[in-house]
Symmetry: C3
Subunit: 175 residues, 3 copies
């Protein structure tokens, strides 16, 4: 998962013309399509467009080769809060990669609607909002404080697919 | 819950005119209204229509008499993956029954939007997507690969009402 | 959290002109803005308006001073079902307070759409619907059986932020 440093304060709205350019300016790149584990069939769409709504299926962090970055343990146990934050950011990059492949360009997204952040956490780990900030901070940095704004929940799950530490489901609005 | 065989490959889009006819062709039937357990009040609507959106409350698998098929243990523990898949399929039949009662006909559904699949699972059970495929495969079989398509998450919960092994919340679009 | 008595039968649609007046008639008041715990940043909006949709971020019960009423244990363990019901009602008051601050008036809400109720529960506690009725009963009392109606799920989580016993995410429709 290549833990990313843990700023908690990603600079907002870089002065680039496109979301892709802003991503590059932040030194980030999008992962390739998901390499699905053996024996697993995912018959649904990663991204589903209904009119101007775009619904984003649950995503998790990916390794650079496209495989799921699971089996790394729970946040609050094998992973600390900063690593959880990095996993939420990597999960967001996976969502953005699916959106770019599905929509052609991230600039078709007008604004964000909803983020539902799920953390595979150790019993007693309750700083779940700080983990899902890895998603919120990136959306706000890329789309700005108004269009990147979103309703959000950050909650602790018993299990997530493939042992990923973070899964995020989301919705955005298209132009 | 009458475990159903575990195909993982439900045949797609049967050439019948109505969703009900396709259900019958698959040898499936819809359960009666939920028999709510003693001491439980469910004051909300199983299906809620807002314009062309139809929001489907969390449903679970039902027995043939309408009662909740709970108290059967956790997936990955007392239930194996195939039984989890069968429970997700039975949960989908429960959803379709509520939709038919509320809408009058399943043919009022234009297409599917979102499936949020929750599994009451044993610690370490992570093949959650294969369980919720019991829902996705049936929607895709009945509505076809385009209109049955949906955004989806499949996650592991600490507990579900009445000890049901699967609960699914969903959204579809009406004509 | 000041446990509230546990009626399970809140009187429906009081004959007052405004939602605020009905709240007062029920003897309830709305909490002040959330006092966020030290070391936690919540960069997202409690309430997010998209056209006529209003999406409500995950909320929890608040103390009278605005702080989160967490650290009180799990429902089915330190808290019983009636205390869980009171926590779901207090969570709803927190949501309504955020809505009033964001929208100016609760009367801008035309009707309710969706309630996603999450309970931090002890293993084996499965009367989750009765807990989240603390939310549904209040919405139905304030908006009546038609406009207060909603699709709902009530599920058990491994952990919730700050150890709150209930978290609710919701959606309503604006006039």
């Amino acid at each position: 998962m290549n833990p990313i440093p843990h700023p908690m304060q990603t600079p907002h709205v870089l002065p680039s013309d496109t979301v892709s350019a802003r991503l590059r300016a932040l030194g980030m790149s999008l992962p390739p399509p998901l390499r699905v584990p053996d024996g697993v069939i995912l018959p649904f769409a990663p991204v589903h467009v209904i009119g101007t709504r775009v619904l984003i299926s649950g995503h998790g962090p990916q390794h650079a080769d496209g495989s799921m970055a699971g089996g790394v343990g729970r946040v609050g146990d094998e992973l600390d809060e900063a690593q959880g934050y990095a996993a939420a950011r990597a999960t967001t990059l996976s969502m953005l990669a699916s959106l770019e492949r599905s929509l052609g360009s991230l600039d078709r997204i007008k604004r964000w609607v909803r983020v539902f952040g799920m953390v595979r956490c150790a019993p007693g780990f309750q700083r779940l909002p700080n983990v899902i900030n890895g998603c919120s901070d990136l959306l706000l940095a890329l789309w700005g404080p108004e269009l990147g704004q979103h309703a959000r929940s950050a909650v602790g799950m018993a299990e997530l697919p493939f042992g990923i530490p973070v899964e995020i489901e989301a919705e955005a609005e298209l132009h």
